[in-house]
Symmetry: C2
Subunit: 319 residues, 2 copies
């Protein structure tokens, strides 16, 4: 990131017609965008939402309230414009692209073997890396995949410690018996793969999923190309989290749009030192929690670039 | 409000292609808009922001970091499009109207006499009432007035109890000595007007200000005409609060856009039983905290009206 661009933003903020600091987080968001875009005047002309989709072998353990068939059905719903993210993307003037990753070939059940082969994992990472369009000013990352809050909880436990009870929530709304199965599956996965848990990439390969690997690849591409990232909820934050484990500053180009109602997300956000922009009790995924926060970044940019200075407006500054 | 419209929204939400409840507060916001608009499909075609401005005699007590001249200068800045609210209104596709109320005739210093005569108070209430355009789908209420966090704190103390120390914060950024003067002025006002504090309207007349009375009048007009209201920060919430004191449901058509960093706002929100939509550490006024929340309501409406149902999309519902 460009420290100069961030400093230029901070300097200009002090000259704008408002008490210093009174735009709160809008001020630091403008500086954050400038830093990662490497521009003194941050832009949000092209906001891109990528939704990666994948299927999960661990659903055989009865960990979700919905059948795996719903993943492909929801991808079709995305394609025909009927899902929440279609409406939210339109409202936020963002381009939406859905990237289904081998839906007819679910990952392996991680309680029995690694979820993916190295080739499968890298193919999904590469698909994510390649999916970030040139000229993207802000990248929002989300997912769809029945069973993937189980996957995300297992990966998070591998990266940050803790077990199924600590990290697993009700996902799309599973009942008590299902939640128990979910926690047991996570613990079984952690146990089976205990030898590789200290390696963030092997943990993502062994306990993750294709859509999580796609998010990881896209977040990596964004870092290299200077694109700020808006993460969605528990699954997309978990998917990007290996970057923070590979380098202490590896996720500094990403913020979290919304604090999910899925248990575990606020804990994961805290572990990453990130404060989500909003908390509206959502727990849908699909990048919906990122999309709902896009207008806050637009507000930050609009104020920063559009406001008059005290000198320009002839307004008396503080006594 | 229309309970039927709200119930129709709740029923449709259960059929949309998402786990029930997974859009969190976006679902209840759609129902709230429908209730007060009296429409089963809530609309946000015309969003109106009204910013009322006034000057305050209590500034003679040294309660603000900025001179009173700034009120008129900022109104000029609003008119020429250079303020934060101009950028935020444009970003949220809202119409902005600024209503200056006798800026060259400040209210009286409330530590010495009632801030306004009955005629002045009613003129300001009427100006607010008349300022709400026909066909408004959502009304955002904000203000500008050097010294008015002192006014708002005094009015809030009158309505909900407590003193200057409990309700006064640093406003635009006053120093320790100024904060002490501010608290003393509030306590002196409460003492001088102790006989009328139990009457919400007399409290607004005696301790309030013209821009607060304008907000009160506009919020009243909105209630009568079925227009949902988005309140801004501490001052606009305090200004509308007499409606809640006049009737327990008097402010049910209003929500708070943003939890202000101004001390007292979260306490006032709690006293009113309201949870602000976002908290971004802003403390500017000008309706900025309401404007930044408009896109969340647009998101709620877009999802509610635009999403496909399970039947329409051919998506399997919960097991």
């Amino acid at each position: 990131g460009s420290a100069d661009a961030a400093a230029a933003v901070a300097d200009r903020q002090l000259q704008l017609t408002k008490p210093p600091g009174s735009l709160g987080r809008l001020e630091s968001l403008a500086a954050w965008l400038a830093r990662w875009q490497g521009r003194e005047a941050p832009l949000l002309n092209r906001v891109v939402i990528l939704v990666f989709a994948g299927n999960h072998g661990v659903t055989a353990r009865g960990v979700s309230a919905f059948p795996s068939s719903v993943t492909a059905q929801m991808v079709a719903n995305f394609d025909s414009g009927g899902a929440a993210i279609n409406q939210l993307a339109k409202a936020a003037r963002a381009d939406l692209t859905v990237v289904p990753l081998d839906l007819d070939r679910p990952t392996a059940d991680f309680t029995e073997s690694p979820a993916m082969s190295e080739a499968d994992f890298l193919a999904a990472v590469n698909a994510g890396y390649a999916a970030v369009p040139e000229g993207t000013d802000l990248l929002c990352l989300g997912e769809m995949g029945i069973g993937n809050t189980t996957t995300a909880a297992a990966l998070t436990a591998a990266l940050f410690g803790g077990d199924g009870e600590h990290w697993a929530g009700r996902g799309t709304g599973i009942d008590d018996a299902g939640l128990k199965r979910k926690r047991e599956a996570i613990d079984a996965g952690l146990d089976r793969h205990q030898d590789i848990l200290a390696d963030p990439l092997l943990a993502a390969l062994s306990l993750g999923g294709r859509e999580l690997a796609g998010i990881f690849g896209a977040a990596l591409a964004a870092r290299i190309r200077g694109v700020p990232v808006l993460l969605d909820g528990f699954v997309s934050t978990a998917a990007a989290a290996p970057l923070a484990k590979l380098s202490p500053t590896g996720l500094d180009h990403a913020i979290i749009g919304h604090s999910s109602a899925e248990a575990g997300h606020w804990r994961l956000a805290e572990a990453l030192g990130k404060v989500p922009l909003v908390d509206l009790g959502m727990r849908l995924g699909e990048a919906s929690g990122a999309a709902v926060a896009i207008p806050i970044l637009r507000a930050a940019v609009a104020c920063h670039n559009g406001m008059a200075t005290f000198a320009e407006a002839g307004v008396d500054n503080k006594d």
